[in-house]
């Protein structure tokens, strides 16, 4: 490891050291990142579709989706651009509860999340079950458009590009299919604790 002349670094608070993965730094704001224009998705036009391959299993509109059981989750999140934000508070519908409402037993081990802006990202089902939700509220308020409102995926234990903004569906796939950033050189899995930022990391 080459030491950089004159660099001391900002000391991380020791009590937080085990919560900030390598190469990450603490962020108190909530930076916005996205690959294209921020879409306007009105709740009245919002739908969420669960698919197996090309076949739709069930579609919910905004009112139907919000009638599903609501779960609260407070988690640390980690963006691949190196910021980490602690204790972010979300409310939404667990992926397990979405599948239960559709009477769907997971048919494959792989899922692609899809968004209104044609964004997509892949997450193994094992990383969605019991760990992930479709979030509709952040810090007690409806999710802002800049942060993916009205609804985004929340997979807090993976780099945050996996938590697709403006989500409109989940699709089970036969194989682990790369999504948007994964086809642009980013890691297929994206574990912040193993610094899986780019393909080959």
């Amino acid at each position: 490891m080459a030491i950089t002349r004159g660099f001391g670094g900002r000391k991380q608070p020791p009590e937080l050291a085990d919560r900030i993965p390598p190469g990450q730094h603490l962020e108190n704001g909530f930076p916005v990142l996205s690959a294209g224009p921020t879409p306007h998705v009105e709740p009245a036009k919002w739908t969420f579709t669960l698919k197996v391959g090309p076949r739709p299993v069930k579609t919910w509109n905004w009112a139907e989706f919000n009638a599903l059981p609501v779960t609260k989750m407070t988690r640390d999140i980690h963006c691949v651009t190196t910021w980490s934000k602690l204790d972010t508070a979300w409310e939404g519908v667990l992926i397990d509860d979405i599948l239960a409402d559709a009477d769907l037993v997971p048919p494959t081990a792989f899922v692609l999340a899809h968004s209104f802006d044609d964004y997509s990202t892949n997450v193994p089902f094992a990383d969605l079950s019991g760990k992930a939700m479709v979030a509709v509220r952040y810090e007690g308020r409806p999710l802002e458009r800049d942060h993916g409102g009205p609804a985004r995926l929340l997979v807090p234990h993976l780099y945050f590009w996996k938590s697709a903004k403006w989500i409109n569906g989940l699709q089970f796939t036969e194989r682990d299919e790369p999504g948007f950033w994964e086809t642009h050189g980013y890691h297929m899995y994206g574990d912040p604790w193993r610094e899986q930022r780019f393909a080959g990391d």
Partner: protein, 244 residues
């Protein structure tokens, strides 16, 4: 896409130039030079004596046709951890760790053609400068418009070079907007909006095939809303938001 891993390497600082009161150009020579596409970035990694490492991404400003060196342009964020180090301590001859090229979305190469609309806010102009320099060096005819929005003339990085290139290159047009200062050198004196986007589009022979927008989140939102209302399809607009 099957890609080789992008490895960390050492790079030597060859030149540091103050571009504006807040932005410095840092030219480095990687120990293993690499090809890149305009719009790509590199990651910089700094290591403290106790092993702590800080990592940040910086867009490449240099032309893909320039061999051997990479120019970065770094804005100093007063409450930052890495940019104050790069501004205040880093010196010519120092070695830093770098890896790249990174990012395969916000990119343009001559094969992609045009017309091209580039909208940059503040230091968001950096990856767009690489695209303009690519046009200059490639000797091709692609209609290209760049609009730079800055607070004041002194803060408009690359302003002189872009003005000069607009005089030299037939198919390149440069517009400047200053949001906090009146100047005879500025084409506009306000924040970017839909009428401004429509006006800078005028020199282009048709709607742009590719639009690249880079800057703060508020700049990118205003600029992309302007582009959309000018009739540009969302799918042709690529954005990069700084401060994330």
């Amino acid at each position: 896409m099957n890609q080789l891993p992008v490895r960390w390497q050492s790079a030597r600082v060859a030149r540091i130039t103050q571009l504006t009161p807040r932005i410095k150009s840092v030219v480095v020579t990687p120990s293993r030079p690499f090809r890149f596409t305009a719009g790509q970035h590199v990651d910089i990694r700094l290591t403290a004596p106790d092993g702590y490492q800080a990592l940040r991404s910086y867009s490449i400003a240099s032309s893909p046709e320039t061999a051997g060196t990479i120019e970065l342009a770094v804005e100093r964020l007063d409450d930052g951890e890495v940019s104050p180090f790069l501004h205040d301590i880093l010196a010519v001859g120092d070695e830093i760790e770098l890896r790249g090229p990174l990012g395969g979305h916000f990119v343009w190469s001559r094969a992609d053609g045009g017309p091209l609309l580039l909208l940059g806010g503040g230091s968001g102009v950096v990856p767009l400068v690489s695209m303009v320099r690519c046009l200059r060096d490639a000797g091709i005819s692609v209609p290209m418009v760049l609009l730079l929005s800055a607070r004041r003339l002194a803060e408009a990085a690359f302003h002189d070079e872009l003005t000069g290139l607009a005089r030299k290159i037939d198919q390149f047009w440069f517009f400047l907007s200053l949001t906090r200062e009146a100047s005879s050198q500025a084409d506009f004196a306000r924040r970017i909006d839909a009428p401004m986007v429509s006006e800078v589009l005028r020199p282009l022979p048709s709607l742009p095939a590719h639009v690249f927008i880079c800057g703060s989140n508020s700049f990118v939102n205003a600029a992309s809303d302007g582009a959309l209302s000018a009739g540009i399809p969302a799918a042709t607009i690529k954005t990069e938001r700084y401060g994330g």
